[in-house]
């Protein structure tokens, strides 16, 4: 999926380093084919690089190696016993046999053991359809059951923490979740207890599964043992469509997939990007999909009453024209760090290049310092602060911050405001001053906060509903794809600004965010090497093969 994203090319220093060190590789033979891989690659990954999949449960590319599931056994020449390929580092001249009858039999028998006490749960299991166990059984074994005694029963519903429920019967004891807690979240909260076929996952003594990255355990779980309370029993996984996007929860910009159906997002799943979020994302980011349905504006509003687009744009344009004809310095525009580069660029162009306004501010949510960590969570909960700043820098002006806005509002140097986004949190005095403005026009996605006290509110699409790019804290320009249309009459913000400009006799003439993005790449240095990328059709998970 990584080819869908729009990224700056890797920075030159990293490329330079790779050139100075001579390429150091090892060559081994896998099933008669020569494979050349970098040193310290394990055999499982080496086989993957030539398209051979060795079945595995406990191995995960983002975690340490446990080699406890024994599902990836292969035969290696000159080694007396079968070797777990995930733990075996490839070395020069190594001869590996994956399709060897002994190794195949061993893997089939391991799979039979794994399935032995597995409950017949597929019809009610949330993981069915994207279950690694299902996939490997279907692809590698397909043998009938030989069990003639009762299955070992374990607890079906174990509440591990605020977000996760465990079904101990389904667990195949791969320990991936334990390693996620230890290595990604950095907190030891899960452990195995008992032995043999009684072995069971549970919380560590005195701990509950409660950390900011806990739902990653559900993603890595190869079966349906761990399920997120948020998604449990809501939707069958195979009925969902996946559209690649970027998390809008904070400035990190974790790459995600929106899983949606019936014009509604059901969950967000991290998408692998080695330079941003590897395989992970935080729980808070996962829940941002809920905002896509909360208090959404479905139609334009004038003075608290619903209106048509024509009338709303007409009223907004009249007010703006009056402000422009009067004292231009009293008209302010607020860009939004919650909106895409395209939205902000079009508004910036209208305000700065065409209207030549002086007062342009940066809006967005207030930072949350306590959520920051050295992993993925950033204090800045706006996804596009870097992008808006880059746009302003290229246009040659500095953005006023929140305090400047409050000062100007209470000081009475503003009489009209055109606002993108509704996430500004202002002081009470500033809010009072806001209510006294001659004109307050807000392009907002929900009815919250300042969208409640406007003259005209124009409903716009949110991040999952429009195409665009955002720039994360590293300066990476990342592409978001529209997963479903916005609610009601709402439309993408760039289009609203486009129409608003037209109503004010300014022909911006944009028809697609791609054209805005191209102009943006020419105008802003930070976007120089970025590419828009190819259009992506939603992937139906049912036919994506079980991705496990």
């Amino acid at each position: 999926m990584s080819d869908h994203k729009t990224d700056n090319k890797p920075d030159k220093t990293a490329a330079g380093k790779a050139e100075t060190t001579p390429p150091n590789t090892v060559t081994l033979t896998i099933d008669g084919r020569e494979v050349t891989v970098p040193p310290n690659t394990n055999v499982l990954e080496a086989a993957q690089s030539i398209g051979i999949e060795i079945s595995h449960f406990c191995y995960h590319p983002g975690l340490s190696i446990a080699a406890c599931c024994r599902q990836c056994l292969v035969k290696v020449d000159k080694m007396p016993k079968l070797q777990p390929s995930c733990q075996l580092i490839a070395s020069d001249g190594m001869v590996v046999h994956i399709a060897d009858p002994d190794a195949t039999l061993a893997r089939q028998q391991m799979l039979e053991f794994t399935l032995l006490n597995h409950p017949v749960d597929c019809p009610i299991c949330d993981k069915a359809g994207e279950c690694t166990l299902q996939r490997f059984y279907f692809d590698h074994d397909n043998a009938p059951s030989r069990l003639d005694v009762a299955k070992v029963r374990k607890p079906k519903v174990v509440d591990l923490g605020p977000h996760i429920v465990l079904d101990a019967e389904r667990c195949i004891l791969c320990t991936r979740c334990i390693r996620v807690c230890d290595e990604v979240a950095g907190e030891h909260q899960l452990e195995m207890r008992y032995r043999s076929d009684r072995e069971e996952l549970g919380t560590a003594p005195g701990a509950v599964l409660d950390n900011p990255y806990s739902i990653n355990t559900v993603d890595v779980c190869p079966v349906g043992a761990l399920t997120a309370k948020d998604f449990r029993f809501t939707m069958r996984a195979w009925e969902l469509m996946a559209t690649p996007s970027v998390c809008n929860g904070c400035a990190t910009g974790c790459n995600i997939e929106i899983h949606h159906k019936n014009e509604r997002a059901w969950r967000l799943i991290p998408r692998h990007n080695p330079d941003v979020n590897q395989y992970w994302m935080c729980d808070e980011g996962r829940f941002t999909y809920r905002a896509l349905r909360d208090n959404r504006l479905a139609g334009p509003v004038i003075d608290g009453l619903p209106a048509s687009w024509d009338r709303a744009l007409g009223v907004a344009a009249d007010k703006l024209k009056a402000a422009l004809d009067g004292d231009k310095s009293k008209l302010g525009v607020i860009l939004s760090a919650q909106h895409s580069n395209e939205d902000n660029f079009v508004l910036s162009k209208l305000a700065r290049d065409i209207w030549q306004l002086g007062k342009i501010y940066l809006g967005g949510k207030a930072p949350v310092p306590e959520r920051a960590d050295d992993k993925l969570r950033d204090a800045d909960v706006n996804p596009n602060t870097a992008g808006v700043k880059a746009v302003a820098r290229a246009a040659g002006y500095t953005l006023g911050d929140k305090s400047a806005l409050e000062r100007d509002l209470t000081g009475g140097t503003l009489s009209a405001l055109l606002v993108l986004g509704n996430d500004i949190e202002l002081s009470d005095e500033a809010l009072t001053a806001l209510a006294g403005l001659d004109a307050l026009i807000v392009i907002a996605s929900s009815e919250d906060r300042i969208a409640r006290r406007t003259d005209v509110t124009l409903p716009c699409a949110m991040w999952a509903e429009s195409h665009g790019t955002i720039t994360n804290r590293q300066g990476r320009v990342q592409r978001m794809h529209a997963a479903f249309p916005p609610p009601g009459q709402a439309m993408p913000a760039w289009e609203i600004i486009n129409r608003l400009g037209q109503a004010c006799d300014v022909a911006l003439g944009y028809t697609h965010p791609r054209t805005i993005f191209k102009e943006l790449c020419g105008a802003v240095d930070a976007f120089k090497d970025a590419e828009w990328g190819k259009p992506v059709r939603p992937l139906q998970l049912r036919f994506a093969g079980s991705r496990g």
Partner: protein, 422 residues
């Protein structure tokens, strides 16, 4: 546009017309000044098979040029197939030639089995059952074609007789598959269930009934002056032209082209039966009629032999890659449950590759070309539908004929909308 010509009544073929020296003929038509007229036939016309529109350019009653416009029954068969699992495509194939869906089922299943390299391992009994249902379907196809065509020429009795016989067979297949028309009876790896207990007895009874009806209709039609006048010499087609146009099936055989997939490239167990391939001489509508009637008699022969030879045994291959586990196991063991789930949700896993198989359909060579990419759905599923190929000859066939001749010609071409438009 075709050039303006004057044609003569009483002569049946274009070659004859062109061979005549126009100046010798004193004919009423020549003296009547006329100009070309464009008229519309179909898409909903009482005397048209299927939903197809023909824009005729006529000079008086003579057809000078025609533009055949199919596509009214287009259901995106090929594109839909790319979004369905291999098993889910069977119902789509039912709707290709909907008077002989069993043959479509069989043809498609053979293509997938070829991709899976299991075509040799299909149980014998399943192969025989596939032959039996294919031949029953061939009979229903021809019954419909001739019955409807005869009705359009005024012989309503024939229609009733033939449809009565067809209904016997439809009832039998309904008993077997649960559906009167859209059977979806065949599966990759065999057929969905065994023949019903009294299938053979009932079929034998119906076959003798059918033979009686074939005899009765023969006395009604074969020497009927009206019928022969309307059919004989109408829409002739030469063997060479049939080859050049890629015709197959009864239409090609009526032209004297001795080609039958069942004989020339035997599939299933057709090489074990003794049957003849009827071939016509002039390729006119009457020949097509005779060929179809004779094919029904040959199908009856095949069916009787099939029941003599059919062995006992399973009707579904015992291969976990394609066979669903039995319900009892699926409900009680996780292994069978997973297999069942994956078969239904992801589809059977077909290894990457491409395969073309072709069978003798009711109207000619019915081919399926499938490109597999290793997933549960085909990457491409092309259908060589005989009706589509045959329909292309219609402008050639009806040129120079009267408007009234379109009806028998089009009827005996037996264009099936669902198959032609795909």
């Amino acid at each position: 546009m075709a050039e303006l010509k004057t044609y003569v009544l009483g002569r049946k073929t274009i070659e004859d017309l062109e061979a005549l020296d126009q100046s010798d003929i004193k004919d009423d038509l020549q003296e009547i000044p006329s100009e070309l007229m464009t008229i519309n036939m179909g898409p909903s016309h009482p005397a048209m098979h299927g939903t197809v529109r023909i824009v005729l350019t006529v000079d008086g009653e003579r057809i000078v040029a025609s533009d055949v416009q199919p596509g009214f029954l287009h259901r995106c068969f090929e594109k839909e197939s790319e979004y369905a699992t291999y098993t889910q495509i069977f119902p789509y194939t039912d709707r290709l030639n909907y008077v002989s869906p069993m043959i479509n089922n069989v043809g498609y299943a053979l293509a997938v089995e070829k991709l899976l390299d299991m075509d040799r391992d299909i149980p014998e009994r399943a192969k025989y059952i596939r032959v039996i249902v294919s031949e029953i379907s061939r009979i229903t196809d021809h019954l419909t074609c001739i019955g409807a065509s005869a009705m359009e020429l005024g012989a309503f009795t024939v229609f009733f007789y033939y449809i009565k016989a067809r209904e016997w067979l439809f009832d039998l297949l309904e008993e077997l598959s649960g559906a009167r028309l859209t059977y979806s009876y065949v599966r990759v790896g065999g057929v969905v269930n065994d023949l019903t207990d009294d299938f053979e007895a009932k079929l034998n009874q119906h076959l003798s009934g059918l033979e009686t009806i074939l005899g009765e209709v023969e006395t009604l039609l074969n020497n009927n002056k009206i019928f022969r006048d309307r059919m004989e010499g109408v829409g002739p087609f030469s063997r060479e032209k049939a080859l050049a146009w890629g015709l197959t099936g009864p239409v090609a055989r009526a032209c004297g082209l001795d080609y039958d997939v069942r004989k020339d490239y035997p599939y299933l167990v057709y090489d074990r039966f003794d049957f003849d391939v009827p071939v016509g001489t002039t390729g006119d509508c009457f020949d097509r009629f005779l060929v179809r009637v004779e094919e029904m008699r040959q199908s009856i022969r095949i069916l009787r032999q099939a029941f003599e030879q059919i062995p006992d045994g399973p009707v579904m291959i015992d291969d976990p890659r394609v066979a669903l586990p039995d319900k009892q196991a699926a409900y009680n063991t996780i292994e069978a449950m997973i297999r069942h789930f994956k078969h239904i949700m992801d589809g059977i896993r077909v290894p990457p590759g491409e395969a073309y198989t072709f069978v003798e359909g009711g109207n000619g060579e019915l081919g399926f070309f499938i490109v597999a990419d290793g997933t549960g759905q085909p990457y491409k599923c092309y259908c060589r539908s005989p009706s589509f190929i045959t329909l292309q000859t219609v402008p050639e066939l009806i040129k120079g004929h009267l408007i009234a001749d379109v009806v028998p010609i089009f009827g005996m071409i037996n264009m099936i909308g669902g198959e032609c438009d795909k």
